[in-house]
């Protein structure tokens, strides 16, 4: 892992912890961006952590580019010595796989896809070596996921699968991006899953849809009353497969204000996870079941 520092125009410092994705790179990027935030450097206006990199936006009228760069570099040792441990939450996200809305959309954009003769799930199952779509769906939801970045558009989480690298699912993005994606689509691109927080353009493969809102600018949804964006980096997610009846029931509960997401507080320790992935996951899932 070799840190790379560069400028993005005259207003951004960009720091890449590694050119490949790993939880080590994520943890280092998160703790280093936290160290920059804690340093309260005058002239810094935004700090954006990403999967294996982060960005600092600054006002060059307040702090010279070389000075902010030097200050950010000084904080690297802090990130290296930081504990790779998070007190976080695990959240159960219901997913209606093979739903009719993403199906209608993926048929509409078939000419932009690698395999125009099947669905996105057919293709993803095939290239990942699964005998059936249902086996693939099980691989998608059986183990938890880590929110490694929030962004692209308002409140959209990128999720990284908490399994051995050779077990991680990988699917390319559409050959050419769609101009439409249903709101709350559960998508997949590269090694990341995501939830489209709003309807719009997108290039990730579409697997299903969740009935649980994750972005509400009006803050009317009960679990979004405190803040309009639900996810933050470091959250852990467990997908729960649901059918149409459950989907409709949750949509109705969200509308009448009675839906409460299932959430449990957990500790995530990267070294412990690397030593025993399935065991660490089992403990977190148990906490969720008790919630």
């Amino acid at each position: 892992m070799k840190t790379r520092y560069t400028f993005g125009g005259d207003e951004h410092v960009y720091v890449e912890m590694d050119d490949e994705m790993s939880l080590d790179a994520f943890f280092k990027s998160l703790s280093m961006s936290n160290a920059v935030r804690d340093a309260k450097i005058e002239g810094v206006t935004e700090i954006c952590p990403a999967n294996a990199s982060f960005q600092v936006r600054f006002d060059p009228d307040v702090i010279a580019p070389d000075d902010i760069m030097a200050k950010v570099k000084e904080l690297e040792h802090k990130a290296e010595s930081a504990e790779k441990r998070l007190t976080t939450r695990i959240i159960e996200i219901p997913v209606f796989y093979k739903d009719p809305w993403t199906h209608e959309t993926l048929m509409r954009f078939r000419e932009r896809h690698q395999d125009p003769n099947g669905t996105d799930l057919d293709y993803a199952a095939k290239i990942n070596g699964y005998a059936s779509v249902d086996d693939f769906i099980e691989a998608h939801h059986s183990q938890p996921w880590f929110v490694s970045m929030v962004g692209f558009v308002a409140g959209l989480p990128f999720l990284y699968q908490l399994v051995e690298r050779d077990k991680q699912l990988q699917v390319p993005k559409y050959l050419s991006p769609r101009t439409d994606t249903p709101k709350l689509t559960v998508g997949y691109g590269g090694c990341f899953s995501c939830i489209y927080s709003v309807r719009g353009a997108g290039g990730y493969q579409m697997f299903g849809v969740t009935p649980m809102p994750i972005y509400d600018p009006e803050q009317k949804v009960a679990h979004l009353k405190d803040f309009m964006v639900f996810f933050k980096p470091g959250d852990i997610v467990k997908w729960k497969p649901i059918d149409r009846a459950e989907y409709d029931a949750i949509v109705a509960a969200v509308e009448d204000g009675t839906y409460v997401p299932r959430i449990a507080k957990v500790e995530f320790d990267l070294d412990e996870f690397n030593a025993d992935m399935r065991g660490t996951n089992a403990k977190m899932l148990e906490a969720l079941n008790d919630a």
Binding site: F7, G8, D19, S22, P60, F192
Partner: protein, 323 residues
Amino acid sequence: MTLKIKNPGLATSIQDLGRIGFFHLGIPLGGAMDRYALRAANMLVGNDEGAACLEAVFMGPEIEFTQTATVAVTGALLPIKVDGEYQEAWTSFVVKAGQTLSFDFLQSGARIYIAVSGGITTPEALGSRSTYPIGALGGVEGRAIQAGDELPTGGSQGLGAGRTVSEPLRRKPGTPASLRVLPGLYWHRLTDEAGAGFFEDEWKVAPEADRMGYRFKGGRPLEFVDREQPFGAGADPSNIVDGCYSYGSIQVPGGTEPIVLHRDAVSGGGYFTLGAVISADMDLIGQLQPHTSVKFEKVDMAQALEARKERKGMLARIREELG
């Protein structure tokens, strides 16, 4: 006092100087694409420089005033009329109660900024009135304005007619437009030849050009340095592990058509970026029409900061002129 929207134009939205501090959640800065023009328009009518204005692209709206106000229109050249009578651009004028502000066809540039004394006073969302339609934030219910909308304003009379910005301070892109770029970010992914070609070629603004980003066509495809793609990046040589995007950063999906991210930028994604348009030239992009010829000009950080100072100096001179 309210502004009655009789015809909204093409994609007219309420914008100010944007909302800072939410990009890490995917909510961009937003605000006027041409901030220079927005500030000038506000100065002309006597508003705070960051007051909310209307940003109209290619076509102007038609607006009935319910009270007398001072108005100024800056940015693109789109002939201005009050009850059919022509008014000067970059110059304040008075619209009386019951009169209608309208526009002829676009002559040059792309976006106008309409400042009304007292500013537009729709509710703020996350500290700004700027409209961000993707996230349904700001503006009128998070959308562009529509016929029938009644926009509240601060209602002041303003400083009256005849205040003007002198010709040399009416900043606009040249022909061909030149956009200064600081190479950086993932510049190392390009071969030396591709990097040089990017700056040598003449590009044209593509029809896909909006507040999120401007796409360019016509230059040679860019070649990448060979490598085995890193885990999680995706198979295409233009892919990276999804990272943050800088405002003004230039991504080139598949190496073919550069896209410069603008005020309503997506906050991150999986395409390499070769550097960013410098902050001083972001305003100019907002005034480019599709098919406009553009050259990207390579600069270093010292030149970028000098250009930033120069732009600030021009705004200071407008302030002096207007007293």
